[in-house]
Symmetry: D3
Subunit: 233 residues, 6 copies
Amino acid sequence: MRIADMTWRQVESYLRRDDRAVLPIGSTEQHAGLSLATDIILAARVALEAAEPLGVPVFPGLVYGITPTFRAYPGTISLKVETMLRLVGDVLDSLAGQGFRRVLIVNGHGGNAPVLGFLAEWLATHPKVQVRLHNWWNAPRTWAQVQATDPIASHASWMENFPWTRVLGEPVPKGAKPMIDPERLRLMAPEAARAYLGDGNYGGRYGRPDREMLAIWKVAVEETQDLIENGWL
Amino acid sequence: MRIADMTWRQVESYLRRDDRAVLPIGSTEQHAGLSLATDIILAARVALEAAEPLGVPVFPGLVYGITPTFRAYPGTISLKVETMLRLVGDVLDSLAGQGFRRVLIVNGHGGNAPVLGFLAEWLATHPKVQVRLHNWWNAPRTWAQVQATDPIASHASWMENFPWTRVLGEPVPKGAKPMIDPERLRLMAPEAARAYLGDGNYGGRYGRPDREMLAIWKVAVEETQDLIENGWL
Amino acid sequence: MRIADMTWRQVESYLRRDDRAVLPIGSTEQHAGLSLATDIILAARVALEAAEPLGVPVFPGLVYGITPTFRAYPGTISLKVETMLRLVGDVLDSLAGQGFRRVLIVNGHGGNAPVLGFLAEWLATHPKVQVRLHNWWNAPRTWAQVQATDPIASHASWMENFPWTRVLGEPVPKGAKPMIDPERLRLMAPEAARAYLGDGNYGGRYGRPDREMLAIWKVAVEETQDLIENGWL
Amino acid sequence: MRIADMTWRQVESYLRRDDRAVLPIGSTEQHAGLSLATDIILAARVALEAAEPLGVPVFPGLVYGITPTFRAYPGTISLKVETMLRLVGDVLDSLAGQGFRRVLIVNGHGGNAPVLGFLAEWLATHPKVQVRLHNWWNAPRTWAQVQATDPIASHASWMENFPWTRVLGEPVPKGAKPMIDPERLRLMAPEAARAYLGDGNYGGRYGRPDREMLAIWKVAVEETQDLIENGWL
Amino acid sequence: MRIADMTWRQVESYLRRDDRAVLPIGSTEQHAGLSLATDIILAARVALEAAEPLGVPVFPGLVYGITPTFRAYPGTISLKVETMLRLVGDVLDSLAGQGFRRVLIVNGHGGNAPVLGFLAEWLATHPKVQVRLHNWWNAPRTWAQVQATDPIASHASWMENFPWTRVLGEPVPKGAKPMIDPERLRLMAPEAARAYLGDGNYGGRYGRPDREMLAIWKVAVEETQDLIENGWL
Amino acid sequence: MRIADMTWRQVESYLRRDDRAVLPIGSTEQHAGLSLATDIILAARVALEAAEPLGVPVFPGLVYGITPTFRAYPGTISLKVETMLRLVGDVLDSLAGQGFRRVLIVNGHGGNAPVLGFLAEWLATHPKVQVRLHNWWNAPRTWAQVQATDPIASHASWMENFPWTRVLGEPVPKGAKPMIDPERLRLMAPEAARAYLGDGNYGGRYGRPDREMLAIWKVAVEETQDLIENGWL
């Protein structure tokens, strides 16, 4: 259930019988020939498909994340780490104040990793609340399915090319790109990073058959759903 | 055009011929029997309908805003003022760094007013960029249309009850509520505010005929579009 | 009573019988041919004249405010929004810690508007305290009196030209200035704003007879006094 | 010359021939039987008497300072250290942006000492500006005069009892108080500090003849004036 | 070479021929029966042994890190994420200002991971500087050697038990502890975490023969040294 | 006892019988021909020699401090004032949370003075904890011994030249330097400061016989020890 489809009374009623919530977070950033919103599209969708059958509400997602390295790619928006942590902290403060006790943050963007460190800090002052960060794409089962499909998988490669992240009229390039070296990339400022990355794909093919993608998606939804049900103390 | 439907190359190409962008901002908060996401639903939609015919891209909207007074209503998320200003500042920094020079922020939430004060501060260090905050619902022409329709219009009243903010199965209450006193409300902490506001409507009827609502919407879209076209130095 | 004319024992004694306080806030910024301190002079004076007959203490005023747009005018001091909010927050924390429960902030500067948004945030964690922001010059009765006197009234125009904001030897220009467009001004960085505003008056005459000014003043003091007495829950 | 008595054009004209400014800073806090505003009254007055004959403008003073230890005394307002440093930083940024190059901060409150450390940080990024913090009361010549008058001198003792810090109708206690131990005081939270300090005087007599006070004042004004004239590189 | 064994002239002289520096960071936190300073002891030592033969200076290490989950263990000091990031940022700003262009941060504490995200942000405004975060203990070659020695290796287990992290007179427990579940731990506030972790070891034996430990150490020093030499663009 | 030589259980056991801790703080900055780490070397060592016989634990020291004026000297690292205060605040929060009630901060760097102001703020919200800042080098008895040895003593002069701050192979210059004017220095940005200070010594001889230095050291250790024992309420 999307919070956007609920009234406050419905949330109040829900909180009498349950205390879970899901919060998708992502990024708006270059994804080669895919949508600039790929990370939040995928996180929000996997969250919703997993939570809806359980009747757990999904809050509106955080569409911007931490992605300074891509700033030279037009359309990329990067938050400072401090901004992102404060944003997540404020959302959690509101949720905790209303009685939510188990929050699954479904993350679609690797650069949001500092949120994980912040959660430990936040939990230290909210001992009754559990918050879990779930990187949906590299959680164990999903990642295994990705690897089984094609071991060369990366940012903006086939692995993020789902029917719902494609941009109308944008052709899928043929062939595969050799993997970039992530350690080299980490040393680069935005202009250098863009020169190094070119179209933005980190490596691998640009697309794979929908049948394979939907198989991955199914695993990801199930794994996320399993966490919403069982991923708690 | 939604940035979510674009690749970075398309944005780069756009920036060679234009330098405008639209950013919707809103809030997730109680709206009586309407969607908790009413403010961002309306801001994002009016922004998109106004910008799309002009070919100006609309960035993903900020779904959370400043709304401490509603914190006792479940489902309401409130950002600290500092968090909101930093968030807006980071987004503008990214936009300015890529060549956007005219940004219309379409705001759907009165509580986000401190953003207006912050924009002057941000502009003082970015003399080549223009950023304009547009409260779509109380801009002159739209407000006149609202007043002509029914002068008792307020937060969570009929005035925000559009086909796209209604919640499935939630009946529209009959009758009208007397206007609350906004000055009294401002003195209240969240619990007192909730006791005072009851269902959350600030006053007026709960709904009006779609024909009237669509007439208001048409004015709002046109007024917003006019600003995207002509609201610059 | 000015806090500056009191000892701590007198404040302690006052707090045994009352819990109200008044805090003027303003700005130091260009006011065309009027004093750079116009905003705080007026706010502090209206506050004192209103509070003194009631025996309510007036704290020393905040002489600097948020005014980035005027930074190109020598003598203008602008605080960042965050600084101003923290400053107000610290003052309120001290007041609340000592037992003040009703605080009227008498504001003389439109640019301080983000304080209003911050108060809601502050009140959410101080449910026993009421804080009210009063823009003395555009409160309903005062503004009506201004409009009845001369409908073209603005920043640094006749409307702020009182015997106590005039600068010795500075002549009052003849004639009236056409109103500037505030929406255009909002898009401007400091240098552009100065070029646009010229002497700094936003529009209207530069002075009016003292008789008229004192009539406005009388209304403003009464309206402010009424709030100190009755403006609470 | 007080900035409050000037227009922006007068400041602009001044900046064509000089680049100095004076900024008084103080505190609003318990001063035993003296005015709660003692620190800013004295700093602002010594600043003005010193600067006026030189034609150097004195900006409105910062009336609140860092004084957490006195928070249990009603009427005391304490800023957080961060707030005070940002406040001073914002004021200096505005001054530097308009062409001021030599700023004397006349400080009336010992607790504002962290400002000194911050100035070094600020200067490191403003190599063309000189800012000097002057504790008027313990500068060498003034302190020598104080000591020559009565070596037992302290916060809220006779040493701050000037005709302009006395509170009407407040009698000057007879006798002298033994000096408190400042190192013990530093270990105390507000309640303990108040229990320890009693009326608030740190030690010494409560008043001395005006003749002696005016002699000290004369030295203080001269010493401050000397710094405005000669205290630069 | 330790900066602590150098004068500023020696650093200046070094900067004429090289631009690399090493900065160890760690934590002071529970390590079961090992030193509370284990993380910084190991990071600083591996850094020094790697850098010294190359003549690259090692700056004094950051002894405190981000470790909120261990706060219920006496002797543990935890920094807020923001504090840690600002600390690292200030150190890097100083280094960059003096001409260092390649900085290897040798990290000994997993909880410091948010620093990695911050580095991308810092680099985005310092395009001429390269900064690399090196988790010495789980870098590829060192981790392979750890795994080859004993695959059950974790926080405060044998894997951190070196001659230089042992505490005098503290016996090494016999036997091995089953691995804790890190995902469960992440959901816990400090008190729950302590109840769950008991002595603090995450799993595995408490010690292994020095011969094995020194073999791991050798690999770690070589791998770190290799990065100082070759780990740059 | 150094915390680095303790396990968490030993600290827990200690806290059952005592509640004191010692925290050295210093700086890494130019010290003419002495070690860049002079300030933290001396603070940490005097702290340890004083605390160890009393069985009071010494926490790892803060190696970086506030020293913007020396930023043009290679090897100097300066923290922003805010960073330093947050760092100290976080350490104190952790200590207080575990039951420490009396903390002596042994400071080796004059530029860290803003910490003193911050402690009053921190104590105001921690009324059960005592924290004392001890500038070991200018505490009364130590300073008297310094003055009795040679009244011209300053930063980076003989007064900081101990066997443990000398740099191998760095000769001690003959002769003495005239004292610089600290008030002039305070007005200078880093480049000007370096031009003014030359080698970095503020004035006086560069070294004195070890016999004299050890006599000063003995006084310093005793004075520090006396505070650990008796410097509390």
